[in-house]
Amino acid sequence: MAEAVDYKVIGTSPVRPDGVDKVTGRAQYGADMNLPNMIYGKVLRSPHAHARIKSVDLSKALAMPGVYAAVSGADFPQAQHGEIGGEGGGDVADLAKNIMARDKVLYHGHAVAAVAARSVQLAEAALEAIDVSYEPLPPVLDLDAAMAVDATLLDENCFTKNLPEKPDKPSNIAAVMQLARGDVEAGFADADVIVEGEYRIPMAHQGYIEPHACTASVNEGGQATVWCCTQGHFEFRAMASKVLNMNIADLKFIASEIGGGFGGKTVLYLEPLAILLSQKSHRPVKMTMTREEVFRATGPTSGTHCKVKVGAKKDGTLTAATAWLAYEAGAFAGAPMGPGAMSIFAPYRLDNFHIEALDVLVNKPKVAAYRAPGAPQSMHAMECALDDLARELGMDPIDLRMKNAAEEGTQAPYGPKFPAIGFKACLEAAKQHPHYTRPIPEGAGRGVAAGFWFNVGMQSSAEVHINENGTVTVVEGNPDIGGSRASMCLMAAETLGVTYEQVRTLIGDTESTGFSNVTGGSRTTFATGMAVVQACEDIIAQCKARAAATWGVDEDQVEWEDGQAVPAPGVNADVKPLSLADIAANAARTGGPLLGRASLNAQGAGASFAVNIADVKVDRDTGKVDVLSYTAIQDAGKAIHPAYVEGQMQGGAAQGIGWALNEEYIFNTDGVMENAGFLDYRIPVASDLPMIDTQIIEVPNPSHPYGVRGVGETPIVAPLAVIANAVRAATGLRINDLPFSPPRVLEALDNA
């Protein structure tokens, strides 16, 4: 482990710079933008889960007084195939067809037309005047039905990708992926114990509290300005330009404050509609989804069916493992089966394994990224199997994991060798944690499981301006979804040697700062933070040069210490140190304003591991599971702002607990989601949860100047299996399917 470094401001938890606006209601979120002359857009959505569109007639809607524009699929340019990069990526044509159906509707709630009118009420009335003629088709609603030999096809041109040869017939399996190493058969032959399990998890939603919203204003020169809640306005601009065949230079995207995303706001839905409606109406158009629309037409994560088999020696050494992982993609290809496959065995040293993963089309909403996309589902299977294995071996579940834990130099199942990682440190901390060492409460059960996420780097830009009085303005391009402005200020202050209060960070729009990929992949504090640090180093180099010129010495005779230029040791110069404020005050005479900048494609995002512990109690009369206590332990590399790192860990735990206990999309036989509201799609409320204890482990990431690893996604990975393993301990029952809602648990208890 690297030595602890003493930092001046990094590792403290000051109040965030955007905080006051957020506790007073001043902060502007997606739906808070109102413009003069603005009108309101609404979307007509498919009443069928699968149907051919025979015709769309907008004329009656357009004839209504106060209705200014209406569009359908015919108003969009021909959808071109092509890759979209980034976390919200996929095929451009699929994205375009998801935004507005063309020849077919592929899920209940799929957008078919949109109108803009003087008021929301009038727009809603106009939707009812649109005539759409459908030819209903049988909906394909689950993985088994989708993969059946005679299955109805969602897309007649879907030929399974990544097979050795292109198949001769289309199917609903969009792609397969295989990962393998060693000799699985020999590995299982070596095993003293083999466990197998099969787990199903239904679709779940990110559940951000702010519905998608945007306001678009297109001028008569064809230039569009769009205000929207997004995890990445640059990627939104790129996607909109492709979907609408517009020049990027004619599109300006301004990210509002964002009311949660968790991956779900990396995807474009409303913005192209608002742009088209604004173009046609010559007015600004605001569009806001209802909660019901958010559930029916945006972002769930995949429902999955996972099978896992694990073999081990008596001493717990893993000898072989296999996994079969089927992911629902929803209406278009692009389920997170890749990361699901790459993560399932990642925490462990494993010489022999085989993994097969499938991306399967079903007539449900197109899935979007959700916090560690794909990993919670696949790792749930493995972490439950390891729990069963520990029980069969009579081993402590943490000891079993420690026996096989990946460490520096271990080759990850997805290829590279891990640099310094903190999995063993997390396991050690868990083993010694008071939560783990204290007695299990009477009648309760205790579960543990591990979590993992790769984290990503990708592209970021940052500029640092030194104001006339020496205060610092950092400009970067990543929407602040959980306190990242504070982290940027801390890293800038540390690097420059000034106080936190002297630094402000703002999020530039697409015209006022350089490109940055989305706030996603747990990359912002890592990658954009690295750009901010480099931009500050640029400032320091310039300050040293100006001090050298002022003093009449060489640049290498100047050093930067505690926020000021000082002569290097041994340099014989009788000069007073020059602070950032001194240099700023004299900037006009030394070369003009101080502007530092950096842009990069960050490499070396360090993987983040976690171990979680939960005690649960199961009410045998009702099947209700109560979480009595919960502890999340995670390697952050270096916690820049520890309170917000804890917040990520606690929030991810709560989301994972919700997923484990209650959250699921419930569809009827027509493919209509029956619980499209927060009353029936039940995310955890305050009274459902205990305090969530946290322990931050710091094994520095060698690729980041301050050792940062991303922390945002790993927290949601372990909780599913933690809860399942705790319920197993409490009841003696291995319940294979999530969520553990009272009826499901009661059924399992009754059948036992």
């Binding site: 506790v23 990110q206 509290i209 009311g259 806001t288 209802t290 305050a686």
Partner: protein, 159 residues
């Protein structure tokens, strides 16, 4: 459609507005009166993001009609901070990092005020059940509960 004239008081100021009979108080606040500090998360009374006080009673403004505001006193997030600065509840939410994205924060702060006005010394369970109508997806509620506990302490014994 005939609009109705409504006279009410918002954060201590006399306010008159015209609204359609079916418009909610939330719509009136946000779209007619530009008080966008009150947030919309669901419009079905399930998330609490639009919490306001109506004659000192905590309500979801999406479940109240604009016309029902006639003759009443409404308190919104915009009225919480005064010339002395932030309300102690707001200050404690900041100090405890009790917000991440911040969309639920105005509703939670209004709901907390309603709680502490009624019960200045609530225990953890009381806080959790009182705030059960205010969904937060980011924090797991831990830091929110701690902020409320600390705010209660601060209000009882101002530093």
């Amino acid at each position: 459609m005939n609009k109705v004239q409504v006279s009410t008081s918002i954060n201590g100021e006399e306010v008159e507005f015209l609204c359609e009979p079916q418009q909610t108080l939330l719509e009136v606040l946000r779209e007619t009166l530009d008080k966008t500090g009150t947030k919309e998360g669901c419009s079905t009374g399930d998330c609490g993001a639009c919490s306001v006080l109506l004659d000192d009673r905590l309500v979801c403004s999406c479940l109240v009609l604009g016309v029902e505001a006639q003759g009443s006193e409404i308190s919104t997030i915009e009225g919480m901070a005064g010339s002395e600065g932030l309300h102690p509840i707001q200050q404690k939410f900041l100090e405890h990092a009790a917000l991440q994205c911040g969309i639920c924060t105005p509703g939670l702060i209004v709901a907390t005020k309603a709680l502490l006005d009624k019960n200045p010394n609530p225990d953890e369970e009381t806080i959790r059940y009182w705030l059960a109508g205010n969904l937060c997806r980011c924090t797991g509620y831990d830091k929110i509960v701690r902020a409320v506990q600390d705010a209660a302490k601060e209000l009882a014994h101002p530093a």
